[in-house]
């Protein structure tokens, strides 16, 4: 039986029934058989009664249902207040111009549709069409915020009712897009639906105080309070550095002192703090390379100095600016020459590019990616490397923030081509890459049944790409490596691999770029990459 497509006006339909239920048969097939009979487990009856989930039966935000009509009314008023601010040059100077231009410029040619991995992966569910949320927002603005809007909306056939159901569904809808901005890259007129998504998130956070717990409460709030989103304290960081030194000794046979808080160093290296907790081999590899190359560099043990992420970039300008300033302040106090962002895509874009226009005077501090530096070390033979040590199939996942959003495309390829004889691109790649499915906070969001959604839907295209890239060597006895130079992407790929048992089934592991460089270093006898 053909499923009925949701329409724009359905967003206001007062019903508990989701507008769309993604079924197994809707999903694009993966290159292997998998048990996806019920891809997303439904919420329990208790959860359904308590929280809003009428968009698609998923809850990313856990928005509680208002207790009475009065509360509903207040929330709707608050939403409209926020919307007015979003459209005001003074209140929203940070993104007013690109937002207005994105709202005005869409000609509904739907060219962007096929660029969206979520829309395509779900067999083109209407609610995931990249233009769906922008169209809803546009119609609400036209009807409720423009003169004569109500009469015109009826006349134009664009009538939309703004009730609590609309608001709650729109809030959830803002968390069904990874903001990879592939749609914006595709748009011939430059309408940026990724930005529209972000601005809706911002409205909910900055005006209504609604944001995913993992991004706000345990994210930026914790980051500002404790110094890192993972909650690592300076004392714990000291222990981590010691552990890193032990690891280096174990791998290289030499004890190395990792520079911490070294005043006046050329480079302050900022890692996502998640690397220290989950993928310690990544900061270890950086330390080995930088020491081997004789660079003047340092880590920081100051609050905010060992955390490169800034979750604010996904949903809240104020939190974003607060964190960016704290990070810069650390570098300024250390009197280093520049900050280099490690393997974290979000950190790259937010710190190097987006923060540029909130930094003034002495806070206007040099910041760049680690990639040009690493490419220089590898390509100009400042490290002794033996590519035969990396003689296994390798493919590269491009973090959206690094390629499409920043234009760093070639250095990582030049490195891989030099040190990995069996390097093979996945398709598409570079600025046309697909998101890992964990972008814009999804990799860390784990409330209720949202993890199912990010595994089966937002990450589906990436998993397909990875398996397609290795289709000739899928035999598990052939060890294969997905190079994902981004902490966030690694988190998502880890969850995808774990769910589908990719490591055991196909012998594929994932990791960063620097690990491959160290694995190829002549002076290190033991293999750096561990396959078990």
């Amino acid at each position: 039986m053909k499923k009925e497509r949701a329409r724009i006006n359905d967003i206001s339909r007062k019903t508990e029934e989701p507008l769309s239920n993604v079924l197994a048969q809707d999903l694009i097939p993966l290159p292997f058989t998998c048990d996806d009979a019920i891809p997303i487990k439904p919420l329990t009856e208790e959860q359904k009664n308590r929280i809003e989930s009428s968009l698609d039966g998923i809850s990313a935000l856990g928005i509680p249902k208002p207790k009475n009509k009065e509360k509903e009314k207040k929330l709707i008023e608050s939403f409209l207040q926020g919307l007015k601010k979003l459209l005001s040059q003074k209140d929203n100077w940070t993104f007013w111009q690109p937002l207005i231009q994105s709202l005005e410029s869409c000609v509904r040619c739907q060219t962007c549709n096929d660029a969206c991995p979520i829309y395509v992966s779900t067999g083109k569910q209407e609610i995931y069409r990249p233009t769906y949320r922008g169209e809803i927002l546009r119609r609400i603005i036209n009807k409720y915020l423009k003169k004569g809007g109500k009469s015109l909306a009826k006349l134009k056939g664009e009538d939309i009712e703004l009730n609590w159901t609309t608001v709650a569904r729109l809030a959830e809808l803002a968390y069904r897009c990874t903001m990879c901005r592939r749609c914006a890259q595709w748009c011939p007129l430059g309408s940026d639906n990724g930005l529209i998504t972000r601005e809706i998130r911002k409205l909910f956070s900055q005006e209504m105080g609604i944001a995913p717990k993992e991004i706000h409460e345990s994210g930026t709030v914790q980051h500002l309070k404790l110094g890192a989103s993972t909650g690592i304290t300076p004392k714990a960081f000291e222990n981590i550095v010691q552990f890193m030194e032990d690891e280096i000794e174990d791998k290289t046979g030499k004890r190395t002192k990792i520079p911490v808080d070294k005043e006046g160093a050329d480079i302050l290296l900022l890692h996502n703090s998640g690397e220290y907790l989950t993928w310690i081999e990544n900061p270890v590899a950086f330390a080995i390379i930088f020491e081997a190359a004789g660079l003047s560099w340092t880590l920081s043990s100051e609050l905010y100095g060992y955390e490169a992420t800034n979750y604010g970039v996904w949903y809240d300008d104020i939190q974003f600016a607060r964190i960016a300033l704290k990070q810069i302040e650390v570098a300024r106090k250390l009197k280093v020459k520049k900050i280099a962002a490690g393997e974290g895509g979000d950190a790259h874009k937010e710190l190097v590019v987006i923060a540029d226009r909130i930094l003034i005077d002495e806070m206007n501090f040099p910041r760049e990616s680690f990639l040009p530096l690493l490419a220089d070390l590898v390509y100009n033979e400042k490290l002794k490397l033996d590519p035969s040590k990396n003689n296994f199939p390798v493919t590269l996942h491009d973090p959206c923030n690094v390629v499409r959003l920043m234009g760093i495309v070639e250095p990582q390829r030049r490195i891989l081509k030099k040190i990995c004889p069996q390097f093979k691109e996945m398709e598409p790649h570079g600025v046309e890459n697909y998101c890992c499915g964990g972008g814009s906070g999804f990799a860390i969001m784990s409330q209720m049944n949202f993890p199912d959604w990010k595994i089966h839907i937002s990450g589906r295209m990436k998993l397909k790409q990875i398996l397609d890239a290795f289709q000739d060597v899928l035999d598990p006895s052939i060890k294969k490596y997905v190079c994902a130079p981004c902490s966030n992407c690694k988190g998502q790929i880890r969850d995808l691999f774990r769910h589908y048992n990719i490591g055991e089934k196909y012998g594929i592991r994932y990791g960063g770029l620097v690990e491959l460089v160290v694995n190829a270093m002549v002076d290190i006898e033991k293999p750096f990459i561990e396959w078990e």
Partner: protein, 274 residues
Amino acid sequence: MASIIKLLQYAKAPLHLRWELYQGSSVYEFPDGWNKSNLTLWQKFKSVIIDVAFLREYYHRNRRLWIFLYLFHVGLYLLILWHAWLFLRALTLPIESTSIWGLLWGHIATALTFIGGTGILIKRIVNEDLKVYYPSIHYVKWIFLLLTLIGAFYAVHIHFNAHMPALLKYVKEQVTFQNLEHKLHPAAAPASHVLFASIWLIYFPFSHIMKLYFRYYHHLRWDDVPNVRGSSIEKRVKELLDQPVTWSAPHIQPGKRWREVVSEISHHGEGQGQ
């Protein structure tokens, strides 16, 4: 005038945070790329010309729609140029001696615009994706446009009998107010075309092509000018940081200035939205 107002509106918009996209390698691939800019003025100019003349992005991303869009736009550009030529020709040279090329130019341009416009309208009616959110008012716009083109063809080919000297004479009289009788009691066919075309002229500043530079090239592709110390960008940032923050969520203290709010740490946020 409306175009100038629109341009000023865009020019006066506040500086925003950077949010650009890249179609390939950028200066960030090089050490110290943070304080460099990507494209030269000439590179930008070349890119605009290619995009506007060939609708390059549609060609790459949506070929089936591009075919009709391209015919339509080429026709439209030729029509605009033809009208400019018509005015210049009528005012500067003797109108009795004209070649067939002027008439042919007008007819080809009208035909291309008409074929392209009809194709787009049909696609907008039959294609599920193209009609899904397309505002109904735009269907009226397309029909009106096709009627304008039919009216133009009628005026030139039937009313003026495809006779260029007669057309040029009419244009000259209209522009120079030589024949008040014609001004006061105009012939229906050319007068209605002038009226329809004038409505399109009023619409032009609000059309998508006019906004193209500001929305597309400016903020998406080329907004990579670094904020260097002492620059005009830094000056504008300083002014913006003095703006009051008005947002009302618990983790923000409305009423204070941006620079104050972002320098403070708010521990509010526990239980947000719960």
